[in-house]
Each structure stands twice: as structure tokens, then as C-alpha cells.
């Protein structure tokens, strides 16, 4: 999916959209653009029409794989569906399904206005240069440092507040597939009374597969589904079905 990163590169041949696309910093931006183009009232959105336009736009722009845009498309369709539901007369509790979206759009519109302001300010500032030449600092001994124990302790406090657990640990995404390995071994056990380690992991297994299979094997052995033996040091493991409790 190349779209979200640098959409223009994939869009070169579609001409006109490239320029616009670089202006859209997200689905809200695109939505706001469509609303402005249509000159419709943001607080009374014609959802059905806007939703259709949005879907067409992301298809045209090649954004129909970008998660953020898809999420917005789904949201629009959901609101459209909700609006189609019959409303009971005199239902005071009815809340306009568009209201949350309208609130976000208004909020985002304000941000865009701030962006214009910031952009203007930054441009004006960019027209003024500071001193380009830095006089070489004289080679002086650094001034005596002042550290207050209280400051240090306050910093320690802040740090302690940062530590989520008394012991640091790192959360690593685990690509291990123990479940898959368990299923594979269980299948082997129903088929054969005895087989080798290589039968479980296959020839070119990577670290992750080996670990997955090993953990699965240990778990199955613990449950008594199989027995794992190593005839001699460094010899390949042999896995044997436990006759007492046949594999499930």
C-alpha cells in the first residue's frame, strides 16, 4: 500500500488530483473540501450525497486502501443508514446521528484556520534572518555547576512517576504462533505414534517457528498428551504419543 506515504508518486498519471491530494492531510480535510465545494451547510449535512462523493473521491485518489479514509467512509455509511431508520413521532430522545461528525468537522475546521494563521506567521518570521556567523566561543572553563539536591529529587520523583511498573520490562510484539504449532503437533500425534523434532518444525524453520513449536511441545508434554525424549545428548528430540491419554 503506497498511498498514505507518498500518494503523488502513484498518482502521476491521473493528473489533476495530484496537486489536490497533497493538500489533504486526512479524511476530515477531504470531507471538508467536499463540503466547501458543494457549498452545503455543515450543520445540516446531506449525508447521503457527501458519503457518495467521499467514496468516489477516495477511489479516484487511490486512497481506498488507506485505513483512516476507509474508517471515515464506514462512518459516513453508518450515519447514512441510521438516518434511513424510521423515527418514531414525538421521540424527544432522538439524537441526530450526524452530530458527532459535525462537531468533529467544526473542530477540524477551526484547526485549519489556525493552520493558516501559523503558516502566515511562520512565513513572516522566515523572512527575517538571525545572525549567521557564530563567533567562536572563547575557551573558558565551564562555569561552576549548581545542582540542588531538591531539584534532583524532584527530578527523581518525576521519573518515578514515569515508570509504569516497579520493574522495567520491554513489550515485544510476539509473532510466535504457539496455537498453530500445537495444532500441527496434535495432528501429527493422531497420525503417528512417534516422530522426530524435524517432523514438527520442518527443514528450514526460523527462530520464531522453532520457538513456537518448542513452547507448544512443552505445553503438550505438560498436559500429558505426549512424551518428549532425547536419546542422547545433542541428539534430535523424539516425540511419542502418550498412550494413556490419546491425543484429542
Amino acid at each position: 500500500m503506497s498511498v498514505p506515504g507518498n500518494p503523488s508518486s502513484t498518482m502521476q498519471d491521473q493528473g489533476g488530483f495530484v496537486v489536490e491530494l497533497e493538500q489533504f492531510s486526512g479524511p476530515l480535510d477531504l470531507l471538508l473540501h467536499l463540503i466547501r465545494e458543494d457549498e452545503v451547510d455543515i450543520t445540516d449535512l446531506p449525508i447521503a450525497r457527501i458519503a457518495d462523493q467521499f467514496l468516489a473521491a477516495i477511489a479516484d485518489l487511490g486512497l481506498n486502501q488507506a485505513a483512516d479514509y476507509l474508517e471515515m467512509a464506514a462512518r459516513l455509511l453508518r450515519i447514512k443508514a441510521q438516518l434511513l431508520l424510521p423515527r418514531r413521532l414525538g421521540d424527544d430522545e432522538w439524537e441526530d446521528p450526524r452530530s458527532e461528525l459535525v462537531r468533529r468537522l467544526l473542530e477540524y475546521q477551526q484547526i485549519r484556520e489556525l493552520v493558516d494563521w501559523l503558516h502566515h506567521a511562520a512565513q513572516q518570521r522566515a523572512d527575517r534572518f538571525g545572525r549567521g556567523f557564530e563567533q567562536p566561543a572563547p575557551d573558558l572553563p565551564p562555569p561552576p555547576l549548581e545542582i540542588d539536591l531538591n531539584d534532583l529529587l524532584a527530578a527523581a520523583e518525576r521519573v518515578i512517576a514515569l515508570i509504569p511498573e516497579p520493574v522495567l520490562h520491554r513489550v515485544v510484539p510476539r509473532p510466535l504462533d504457539v496455537e498453530g504449532a500445537t495444532a500441527r503437533i496434535t495432528a501429527l500425534l493422531t497420525e503417528r505414534e512417534e516422530f522426530g523434532w524435524v517432523d514438527v518444525v520442518g527443514a528450514g524453520a526460523g527462530v520464531v517457528e522453532v520457538l513456537s513449536a518448542f513452547i507448544a511441545l512443552l505445553e503438550l508434554a505438560k498436559r500429558g498428551t505426549c512424551k518428549v525424549q532425547q536419546p542422547e545428548p545433542f541428539a534430535p528430540m523424539v516425540i511419542r504419543r502418550e498412550p494413556a491419554r490419546a491425543a484429542a
Binding site: D29, Q110, I111, V115, L118, H119, A126, D127, R128, P164
Partner: protein
């Protein structure tokens, strides 16, 4: 010019970043912040009176000599100095949200922008325009971000109070309920 004003001029001229009043006051401890402020006013007036290509500006919580905007183009054309690269709309959006809601966490920024902002925030951190201001409550104690003096500097602002007030914007955003809790 008074000796202190000359000293301030030399120090400000030598520096390539804004110097705060507090820093400048250390140059002449006897003058203190009051005397330093007066000398700064004197210096600024002296520079404004003569026709200079450079002027003294109060910016980013400090004072700095800057060239007048009229000359930017000629200087850039001659390649003596380069104007900084523009910030992308995504970066500006993120900065706007952080500036107005600080301290604010990434989830809230994502929500308002409707897109994932991690990469943008990382870039802003790297450029020193935002910093980790504190940690929020709740799951994982999320990092909360705020803007830096550098942010003010690249916008040429003295302080955050120079940003437009939300109610001055043409779009009325805030829903009538005043104390809306950011979710």
C-alpha cells in the same frame, strides 16, 4: 548609548539565538532585570531611529537581532542565507492542536486530525518544536506534549498569548457547553 546598552548589543549580536531577559540580566548584576529592561528599550530605540537593515526583535521569550523582512529575498537570491523549509500542513495541524491543548496526548491529536500523528509528532520532537511536557493519567501513562520556545521563535511570537484566541476565529467551534472534556 549607555555602556550597558552597548554591552547588550555586543552580546545579542554575538548570539545566534534569542537571549532571555533573565540571561541578559546576568551581564550586569547591578542593573538587574529592571535596569536591563531599560537598556534593552534604549537599544531598540537607537536601532529603530537609524535606518538599519537589522532590527532588535522580542521573540520566542527572548531578544534577538534579526534582519528586516524587506531584504530576505535579495539575501536568499545571493545564497548568503536560506529561509527555513516550510512546515507541512500536517505538521502545522499537529502544532496547532498541541499549542492550544497542551499538555495533550497523541490519542487526542489523532482524534482531532482524524489520522495517525505519530510520525508527525516524532518529527516535531526532533526539530525541537514540541517536547514531552508530562505524563497523563491512565493506562500506560501516555506522554503529553507541549510547545517549546523554539516553536514561538519560528513563528516570531513573544509568547503563546500572541496566538489568536479561539473565539477570534471566524469559525465558532466550541460547542455552547463551556467545559467540554476532551475525551
Amino acid at each position: 548609548m549607555s555602556p550597558l546598552a552597548q554591552l547588550l548589543e555586543a552580546a545579542l549580536f554575538a548570539a545566534s539565538r534569542p537571549l532571555t531577559l533573565e540571561e541578559l540580566a546576568t551581564l550586569d548584576p547591578e542593573a538587574g532585570e529592571t535596569g536591563t529592561r531599560a537598556a534593552l528599550a534604549e537599544l531598540r530605540a537607537a536601532w529603530a531611529a537609524a535606518d538599519h537593515g537589522v532590527e532588535l526583535a522580542e521573540i520566542g521569550e527572548g531578544w534577538q537581532f534579526l534582519t528586516r523582512p524587506d531584504y530576505a529575498e535579495a539575501i536568499e537570491r545571493a545564497q548568503f542565507a536560506l529561509r527555513p523549509r516550510r512546515l507541512s500542513p500536517a505538521a502545522l495541524e499537529t502544532l496547532a492542536i498541541i499549542a492550544y491543548r497542551q499538555p495533550v496526548g497523541r490519542v487526542e491529536v489523532d482524534e482531532i486530525r482524524g489520522v495517525d500523528s505519530e510520525a508527525v509528532i516524532d518529527k516535531l520532537l526532533e526539530r525541537g518544536l514540541v517536547e514531552v511536557a508530562s505524563r497523563g493519567e491512565g493506562l500506560g501513562r501516555p506522554l503529553l506534549y507541549g510547545t517549546t520556545p523554539q516553536f514561538l521563535e519560528i513563528l516570531g511570537l513573544k509568547g503563546l498569548e500572541e496566538l489568536p484566541r479561539l473565539d477570534e476565529l471566524s469559525v465558532a467551534l466550541r460547542p455552547p457547553a463551556p467545559a467540554e472534556e476532551p475525551e
